[in-house]
């Protein structure tokens, strides 16, 4: 397996608080990696490393090496950050469409990055909505406000929005935690389809979900990556006793 993302000895501090401790990981390409662990253990912080979203927070200090496609993403010029962010899409916990039409939500990433060709945009919007399994539901109301969609549809719209700029990697921070079971199932199905083309990192609190959708699982505790392995190994045969007690505690 080719590693898409590599971190080596990454430490992250919020002012004086250390949120990530010496994290080293190799995440294989075109797979789904689940990140699990109790609240506040640093999963979201870890996720935000890869599109340099942590840069936006005051007083963050990061050390160690973070590579995507063998390029250190913290050594690039600042003008390349936008390019990095196009390569790494992100989906959030709560559906957060922009106050625009369904069409414009998906077109947003193209427009802000300088694409004006309306035919190209229309094609790309359609393709992204199809990839996000939303096209059939919205093709007749593309001009309607995105807020008119249901929560589950909104979340798939957000995924379509991320897909439109053709990323390689998609970061998902508890993407289904605010949704009902049926919408959750649709999202999980979608994730399964997407991994053909994308490297997906997903944070989840739901052990069953991690077991269902992911190929690999990393377990975080207090900022440390305790264990990283194939998902079936983590859930059937964890090497670390902390992983085991977390998983068993959650399962029953």
């Amino acid at each position: 397996m080719v590693p898409k993302i590599i971190t080596r000895n990454v430490d992250l501090y919020y002012s004086s608080f250390q949120a990530l401790k010496n994290v080293s990981i190799e995440i294989p390409e075109k797979s789904v990696t689940a990140l699990i662990g109790p609240s506040g253990c640093g999963k979201s912080t870890f996720l935000r490393l890869f599109n340099r979203m942590n840069d936006l927070i005051d007083k963050v200090k990061i050390s160690g090496e973070i590579l995507i496609d063998d390029r250190s993403i913290y050594k690039i010029r600042s003008s390349e950050i936008d390019n990095l962010r196009r390569k790494v899409g992100m989906v959030f916990q709560k559906p957060n469409p922009f106050p625009k039409s369904i069409f414009e939500n998906v077109a947003y990433g193209l427009r802000v990055n300088g694409i004006n060709d309306s035919q190209l945009i229309a094609n790309q919007v359609e393709r992204s909505l199809k990839n996000a399994a939303l096209w059939e539901e919205v093709k007749d109301k593309l001009k309607k406000s995105a807020f008119e969609l249901s929560g589950g549809q909104q979340q798939r719209l957000c995924i379509a929005r991320a897909l439109a700029v053709e990323p390689d990697i998609i970061l998902m921070d508890e993407p289904a935690s605010a949704l009902d079971p049926i919408s959750t199932a649709k999202i999980e199905e979608l994730i399964f389809d997407l991994k053909k083309d994308y490297t997906i990192l997903i944070v989840t609190h739901n052990m069953q979900q991690a077991a269902r959708v992911s190929d690999y699982t990393g377990f975080f505790l207090n900022g440390e990556l305790i264990e990283f392995n194939e998902t079936k190994m983590i859930f059937t045969n964890p090497k670390n006793s902390k992983t085991e007690s977390y998983i068993t505690g959650r399962f029953g």
């Binding site: 990055n113 300088g114 694409i115 190209l120």
Partner: protein, 293 residues
């Protein structure tokens, strides 16, 4: 596979730099206006203000002398209005935050208080004239002016009280109930003492507002010129803001009265600065106290 135009990121960057600076410059423009006003009035007023200016009566058709009666008048109006508004406002705030459990009652009070705070001050003037001056027959007087100003400052006092009470953690209340204390006792002995410094900021801000209001006292209290200090609550009084209005627009000799006007304006501005400073200090103190828990 789409390709993004290569210059797009550079264009974004420059647009951002240009607009961020525009926003910065416009924002500092706002602050510059404030500084200009303060500097202008302070520098001009400073030449005029002296002990005599503050303690003498106006002379020569208010073109010379001091503003003592206006200071005293404003002081009377402040004291009068606060004696009326502060207790009612605080009690109303207590009612809204501690008692009104019923959603509709609370909502009505909040809407009405909100409405009251939006009413233009000249309308308070009209109302004060109709009710206090004419209907209740107080005539234009300190008492009529104080009542009018009291009504105007109620919403501010109610709102700050409500917010200060809201900031008091519920654990204090529960602890007190746990010891068998009644609701009123809890409010009096536990909640109010914690919230008090912040409630006082409401009082101080109201004093700032009341001291500068002109329109409400135009017809209810303010006198163009009084040769002596008011003797009773039913007398008219001079007041700083009205005095400034008069000597800057309709005095006997506007040019000669200008220095007097600068001095009066500076006194008003100093009251505002004092009030804001004091309120800021109290707020910080309160924030620390609530955090301590």
């Amino acid at each position: 596979m789409i390709t993004f135009p290569e210059n797009a990121d550079l264009k974004k960057k420059w647009t951002q730099i240009v607009f961020f600076w525009t926003a910065r410059i416009l924002s500092f423009g706002v602050i510059l206006v404030l500084i200009t006003i303060l500097y202008f009035i302070t520098s001009k007023g400073f030449e005029v203000i002296s002990w005599d200016f503050l303690t003498e009566n106006p002379k020569d058709g208010m073109n010379a002398g001091g503003i003592f009666p206006a200071i005293i008048g404003t002081l009377y109006l402040i004291i009068g209005s606060m004696i009326i508004a502060f207790p009612i406002g605080v009690l109303a705030g207590i009612y809204v935050n501690e008692y009104a459990r019923n959603g509709i009652a609370k909502r009505i009070i909040q809407i009405m208080t909100n409405n009251l705070s939006g009413i233009p001050s000249i309308v308070f003037g009209l109302f004060g004239m109709a009710l206090f001056v004419n209907y209740l027959n107080f005539g234009a007087s300190i008492i009529a002016g104080s009542l009018t100003l009291a009504l105007l400052s109620l919403p501010l006092i109610i709102r700050t009280t409500e917010e200060s009470l809201k900031a008091v953690d519920n654990t204090f209340r529960h602890a007190s109930y746990g010891l068998g204390a009644s609701k009123l006792y809890t409010i009096r002995k536990v909640v109010l003492p914690i919230a008090f410094p912040n409630i006082i900021t409401g009082l101080i801000l109201s004093i700032g507002r009341v001291s500068g209001e002109t329109a409400p006292i135009l017809f209810t209290a303010a006198a163009y010129f009084l040769p002596r200090l008011p003797q009773s609550l039913t007398d008219q009084c001079m007041a700083l803001p009205y005095h400034l209005y008069v000597i800057s627009t309709s005095g006997t000799d506007l040019d000669k009265a200008r220095p007097m006007a600068y001095g009066t304006a500076l006194v008003l501005v100093m009251i505002v600065l004092l009030v804001n400073g004091l309120a800021g200090l109290l707020r910080n103190y309160f924030a620390r106290k609530v955090k301590m828990k």
